[in-house]
Symmetry: C2
Subunit: 308 residues, 2 copies
């Protein structure tokens, strides 16, 4: 049952709706800012746009070390046989690897990096834990599209995340350009909540519907947001970093170029925003998709290298 | 049967192959140039890259007049019930309208415009006729992708076009940007011919308008061309014009933005390159897809307006 106190009801009404965001984007209070790697200007831009792009924050050497670690994980049967490892139906190639920060010391260190976890703490004004981590390997020619969505809508309804006090940080492992399916963002859309239309919730466990049939914003609401903010696709060299709010509208095109598009994602959630029961009233999703161990990401010294 | 004299065999071998183009790109001989609207610099750039983009060649008023004509055609049952009119299976909305220059005086005048037919004559160094004309209406949210291909490969195999002495001119009827599925081109790829694998079944055009299965270049050959020339997507305001060679590798992404992407295409073929029997040995495709009336596009006075 949807709680009466739910600030962001979705998938319960017969018609979609847009409401205003009930939460801050940057959670630190004036005069009580949390220190971190981002400048005042960057914080202000993030608050307004819902994302921040940091070109070439990591070196190509660091990126190559991460790719090596992915190759190691990808050939380890103890990894590839786990449910965290999502392979392509036809080729058997790995498409996504979840919970990488739990499988690999390298990625655990990366998740705690002061430029990443530090930025998350600075924006969310608290300790943070990893709600989800993931390596995406979008291959050339066959990388699939991902339709417009708000992450928060899903995390709220399906995972029980109460408030908009979470963000994603994506580190590009390959060059991203306009053609190989970069993340497209609707700037400013994070300030509105698009309530999606529900699909017979009482029966839905009986159907094996595709995931993206749920939590899909309606075209009118997307059009409204795009009329306001346009569309942008931050692109850049491998090693660049994209920070984006949990509620910003985003999606990506298919990749029909020969160029793969790979990245590593960390979702940081505030420890003061840890998960409750899913607002849908249904069973929680698996832990590797929605972590329920709310242990803070450890502080990492600035001098510690990403890759040992 | 594939003729022994076929310069561009395709869909006959079990393995793909890349061969060199056997024909000029710009057909006029030095000292015997055909006059036209393009400068020497533009002609040289076209010869090297395989395309030429002319930003905002037509005014927004002219574009609006063309859109009005499309709306008129789209609501005329004498048009919408013809096979030239391709509708979307679900919505019934028009996706493509072929042979528009035969259905509409406005589009007949546009096809004969000195900036369009004149450029085609200048590049192909002869009179030209319309091999195919088409209005494409790629809607927002649901515009489909079109995979990499060479037009010539299809026109040669399925329509019996002997040589690479044809080109397409696309007039943008909506703004094209990086996100709404613009044409992606591999510069320089027009100088190579990718021989595709697989035999074409009879009547395949009925499906190929919806889904590509034949005449699809292999990934290795595409990668080879992209390594050489990269990928570019000429974008610009409505009224802009793209001229591209019949053999340049191109494709387009799906359009998941709210912004529609519409254009009008004319394929000009040299009257000295008129169609023979299809090189596949199969039945020719319908006349509205591969015109077999090789009447030259009439010369049009510069002063004549596109839209009466």
């Amino acid at each position: 049952m949807q709680s009466l106190g739910d600030s962001y009801p979705s998938r319960v009404a017969e018609r979609p709706a847009i409401t205003l965001r009930q939460d801050p984007v940057v959670w630190s209070e004036p005069g009580r800012e949390v220190s971190g790697p981002l400048s005042d200007y960057q914080i202000k831009s993030y608050a307004e746009q819902g994302f921040l792009f940091l070109p070439e924050l990591f070196s190509l050497g660091e990126v190559e070390a991460l790719m090596q670690e992915i190759r190691r994980l990808s050939t380890d049967p103890a990894v590839t046989t786990r449910p965290e490892c999502i392979t392509e139906p036809k080729s058997g190639n790995i498409r996504s690897l979840f919970a990488v920060h739990e499988m690999s010391d390298t990625f655990a260190r990366l998740a705690a990096h002061p430029q990443l976890a530090g930025a998350a703490r600075q924006i969310l004004a608290s300790n943070v834990y990893i709600h989800q981590s993931r390596v995406n390997l979008k291959p050339g020619f066959r990388g699939e599209a991902f339709y417009w969505h708000s992450d928060f809508e899903t995390w709220h309804v399906e995972d029980g995340m109460p408030r908009m006090r979470a963000l994603s940080i994506s580190l590009l492992l390959t060059d991203n350009n306009a053609f190989n399916g970069p993340l497209m963002i609707v700037p400013g859309s994070h300030l509105k909540f698009i309530s999606c239309v529900g699909k017979t919730p009482e029966n839905h466990y009986q159907h094996s519907l595709k995931k993206q049939e749920y939590g899909v914003p309606d075209e009118e609401s997307i059009t409204h947001c795009v009329q306001d903010g346009g569309i942008t696709a931050p692109t850049g060299r491998a090693g660049s970093v994209l920070i984006f709010d949990c509620n910003v509208l985003h999606g990506s095109n298919a990749n029909m170029t020969p160029w793969p598009r790979s990245n590593v994602f960390f979702v940081y959630n505030s420890v003061r925003n840890s998960l409750t029961a899913p607002y849908s009233g249904q069973q929680p999703r698996p832990k590797f998709i929605a972590n329920r161990h709310f242990e803070p990401v450890p502080l990492s010294a600035d001098s510690e290298p990403v890759v040992a």
